[in-house]
Amino acid sequence: MNTTELLKFLSRLNGPSGFESDVIQKIKDSIEGDADKVEIDRMGNLIAWKNPGAPSRVGIFAHADEIGAVVSKIEENGFVRISPVGGVDIRTWLAHRVRIFTSKGPVMGVIGVIAPHLTGAEVKDHSFDNVFVNVLERHEDVRVGDPVILDVEPVEIKGKLVSGKALDNRAGCATSIKALKLLKKYVHKSAAAFVFNTTEEVGGPGAQTSAYKLNLTHAIVVETTHADEKTAEVSEVTLGGGPVIGTGPSCDPDFTDLAIKTAEELKIPYQIEALPGRSGTDSDHIQLVRSGVKTLIVSIPLKYMHTPCEVVSVDDVELSARLIAEIVTRL
């Protein structure tokens, strides 16, 4: 699979926080033969080892979950209400299809918007309080608590970009998968554990518990970050501008310097993102595990985060994968 196909493949997988098992299994299948040892731990995290047993231990974390929703109320005539899992702006879900994952398999639904002929000039602010899902089939199978995921087919834009749902953080997963495959060709003395972890979007225990279990000296968190936003709250990050290296209290300064030096040495274009407080990534938790872990954050620039049309650049993913593989060999 080339990088574009890999991104589309991962974007199509469905796994809101807490319901990642299918995503985890599909990623496991796609790295078959690339790792020395593969396991799924009791929090549902997938761990793929390269060179296990070496004294220096680095974890490469990419969260595999995505934002989504759950059924929260059953209405009459085949309609249901939903509640968010993670940070969902429901206004970006209107007039989209969704899949509801019932115990008897997925069913199709529509987030309907009442036609303007019936609402007149009165414009309602859409929120989870008034949005409904029109279940199109087997609505008797739908139960409160069933996960709900957008049905969006990823597309290529201009041949070098991919747009779709869940690229936060399937773009990170794609980067990790590519880095793992690259490492097959490299010699490295540290043990590398590629972790595809659960529950990041709800601040859940996925990354933290696997970091504990792995007993790491270093951790690289592979994430996505806002691209092309013009606001003082976030650093100037350009889509297609290369991997984004985080700097701030949730990143180890020496490890971050190593990443920058590696990028410069290899002439990999890179961008720096200032993370003045919590990073908002799993690094916030991984850093504090056991007696402390030296963390590095490498992010893929991404536009329109948490919408059905997130956009990433294929080049950014490939460059980030190479950078991460090279960093691992330098530990």
């Binding site: 206004r91 209107l94 299809r97 859409h126 201009k158 908002g280 329109y304 059905p308 049309c309």
Partner: protein, 336 residues
Amino acid sequence: MYLKELSEISGISGQEKDVRAYISERIAPLADEIWTDPLGNLIAVKKGRKGDKRLLLAAHMDEVGMMVTRINDDGTLSVMPVGGLRPEVVVGKQVMVGDALIGVIGFKPIHLQKKDTEKIEWSNLRVYCGFANKEEAKENVKIGTYVSFVTKFSENGVFFSGKAFDDRGGCSVLMDVIESIDTPPFDTIFSFVVQEETGLRGSAVVAEQVKPDVAIVVETTTAGDVPELEKYRWATHLGDGPAITFMHRGYVVDPRIFERLVSLAQKAGIPFQYKMRTAGGTDAARFARSLYGVPSGVVSIPCRYIHSPLSVMHRDDYRYTAELIKHVVETGEVIL
């Protein structure tokens, strides 16, 4: 039924050519005469047994969509609606800019939104096609380029879902009817008109060309049977057959035609419902103003969420609408 194929074709008001080509190719062999008029309406005549009266059927080919109004410094495109389209329904969608360019209408990430400042208005929305700057965008896109939805058709259970059902549903019904009838009692004109969504424009020139005695408009109309609307505001609902209109904006349906449509449905045992609200308009208002006045009726397929990229129709409502229209043509009883 051609609803799947018709719904997936792009045909925003003013640019219906691909829809017209699709329909024309399929019905031309079945018509005694067929032509495209200067505005782009497709008109097909099926000769009747008696030549003295003429029945006009009409469905509109156009759909709502958007048009590029500005090319911005950052390479994004600003758009405005063509027809009655609210900005809320386009957020987060993939779109087709012109014939081949994919774009997305993104939105400010929830992490960076300020309370109450990120309003969904046309002026706040941008189409992103991957252009780095204005120059690159200008090389690829012109002001005035149409921007359309790309929703695929789907059938799940008893429901169809997709875009442009208003009024590709009516177009598909007319195609089904011309395919399934023998020689009708009266000359029957099947018209597929342009620009309904921008003010009933295409239909304005049809009557002049075919001099009908009666016109029946086959539409797709709004259904409000959802949890957020009180029942008295539904207008129509799904599952109980075609909606027969007694009045809408700009026209009180000729009571003789309304009564004959109702009694035809009743006698044939075809389920139907009355359209319970008078909001919205159809080409019937235009036909009634054409020539010396053409008495007109309206039969519609009820449909939820029209004028959005994703509407929902009940397959039985489609089927019963097609049956009723076929019956209208075969009996000729609506001719006054």
